[in-house]
Point group: C2
Chain length 341, copies 2
Amino acid sequence: MDDTTEKLSKKNGKKITISDVAEALGISKTTVSRAISGKGRIGEATRRRVLEYIKVNNYKPNPMAKGLANKKTYNICWAVPAEYNVYDLPFFQRCMAGVCEVTMATDYDVLLSQVYEDNISGLKRIVDNKKVDGVILARTLVDDQSVKYMKESGIPFVVIGSTPENDVIQIDNDQINACCDFTSLIVKKGNRHLALIGGSSTHVINVSRRKGFEEGLMISGLKPQPELMFVDKITDRDIGNAAMDAVSLGADCIICMDDRICYHTIMRFRKENISIPGDVKLASFYNSDFLATNQPAITSLEYDPKELGKTACKTLLKMIDGEAVATKIWLGYEISMKESV
Amino acid sequence: MDDTTEKLSKKNGKKITISDVAEALGISKTTVSRAISGKGRIGEATRRRVLEYIKVNNYKPNPMAKGLANKKTYNICWAVPAEYNVYDLPFFQRCMAGVCEVTMATDYDVLLSQVYEDNISGLKRIVDNKKVDGVILARTLVDDQSVKYMKESGIPFVVIGSTPENDVIQIDNDQINACCDFTSLIVKKGNRHLALIGGSSTHVINVSRRKGFEEGLMISGLKPQPELMFVDKITDRDIGNAAMDAVSLGADCIICMDDRICYHTIMRFRKENISIPGDVKLASFYNSDFLATNQPAITSLEYDPKELGKTACKTLLKMIDGEAVATKIWLGYEISMKESV
DNA sequence: TTGAAAGCGCTAACAC
DNA sequence: GTGTTAGCGCTTTCAA
């Protein structure tokens, strides 16, 4: 934007309004509005004249006024967990990048809300204050306050992940099948005693992964061994201990539910001089860049978080426009076999 | 909120407006408005009656209408780098948490904008569309388009970091002094050949850290050795190679400009069987959770990113309210000596 | 101390 | 095809 344009777009230092445009062109505000929105009948000539003028003069409609008039905000809410660890970060960041990429191509902007497992007041405020036209919940819990609240609120929303609640639009990778496939493939590689180390079972994703793991064993003709399944391991200490226990109990391969668990397992093994894959094999249900540079390379299940974000956002935008959408949208996954198994 | 309140707060399923409140109380909208805003004269009795009523009925003023009337949006923009390699950095997330914490205690919400080094169209759109009352730039570049654009725009903004541009409100840790202190302390520990590995010199922070490093050597009576200073190392490969070169050139200690660099250095050394601190010592100019659990613990400089976010946000809010603020606000740092040096 | 009325910038019936 | 008019929900003079 050069200086000339800059100056033209203001009127005594203030932004120009639709009235200024109308007046300058000697037509009514309605006509200008129609030219811009494309709604209603309007002569092709006038339409072009208006469009040309607003382009030259860099006129931008005021979203506040527009919002007030048609009861829309042109904002969506990206609700991310406030409690997370570094290892979850890449996931949410990539999802968010997907969301932003989609909104950039539309009239929408993204309002941020941090939600806690036990405190969703931030989300509530944004929704109650009518500051957004829809919301994306970045993760789901087994018993999820945000989901319940959003259902009551009546405004469009989607979740990234799955939920037991009915009638909720969900965008997810098919965790159960993915983990089932992954597990059975590892069994095919000759491993018979698979251990599982997982995080909090308040998270739907952890429950699903565990389920997939068990199914994977079953279809391989193995029985899940409860003593080799360690769940709700939150601290790095607990994770490390679970890993050591798995080894003492004779596990030949440990599957970690996520990268954080995998990372702490590796650290503990390094400390205890347990070699991968010599003493025990190792795999992870999710691969981020953290593990990407590890030695040895970790066998893992890979998803595309950015695509999740994009799909979630596109779906939400459709809902806001009143279009029908599928309740459940599944995205793919890839299995990446490496030296660690 | 129980069901009764829930129902009271709606009128045929729609949110109640200021008119509804006025009507119900048999007073004018003006009076209701005054009771809420606290501006203008109003009888104590009526004021309390109104406040009581809106509380019971859960009335929330519509920010769109409010915004249109007094030309405010009650949103601020949090502009973060969109580059892929910063996605995983906890730094920006923690800053953001600070920003959100502050806004939560006010009427403001946070609008997100991803900015690229060479493309700030997202920021421009948000500002041009008047969707925010102010913006926080999460990092600064040596030649920063966003800063220049924001200066022109005329709307309040602050930067986290430093900038050569004049009259820009900056919130930063004193990187130069911090890195200088840190470097000289490491020299005092008996190290004579310090290598530096740094990221892009388009970032102000990297330039400052390098400067601090050089000053630290000088005040310790050492001369910076150009061959031991590796900058603009972006990819994990380049970083690893620089680290290997530093070792072959006889460095006794390597200082990494940030965690990502430190992480990749560690990974490479692990691969090449170079021991820390046995073969070479290692330190980082910034410590995040990345390194927190590393073995051996990494000597590092520690900042408080959340505090940066909080301070930046508070400062911006003051500016929006027309208060005067200091141009440069310095936050502290701590040196944390660990086994790696 | 309170209220009537105008206006913020835009949209959408409803006329013409 | 275009304009008039009445809002959207709130704030703010200006009177009373």
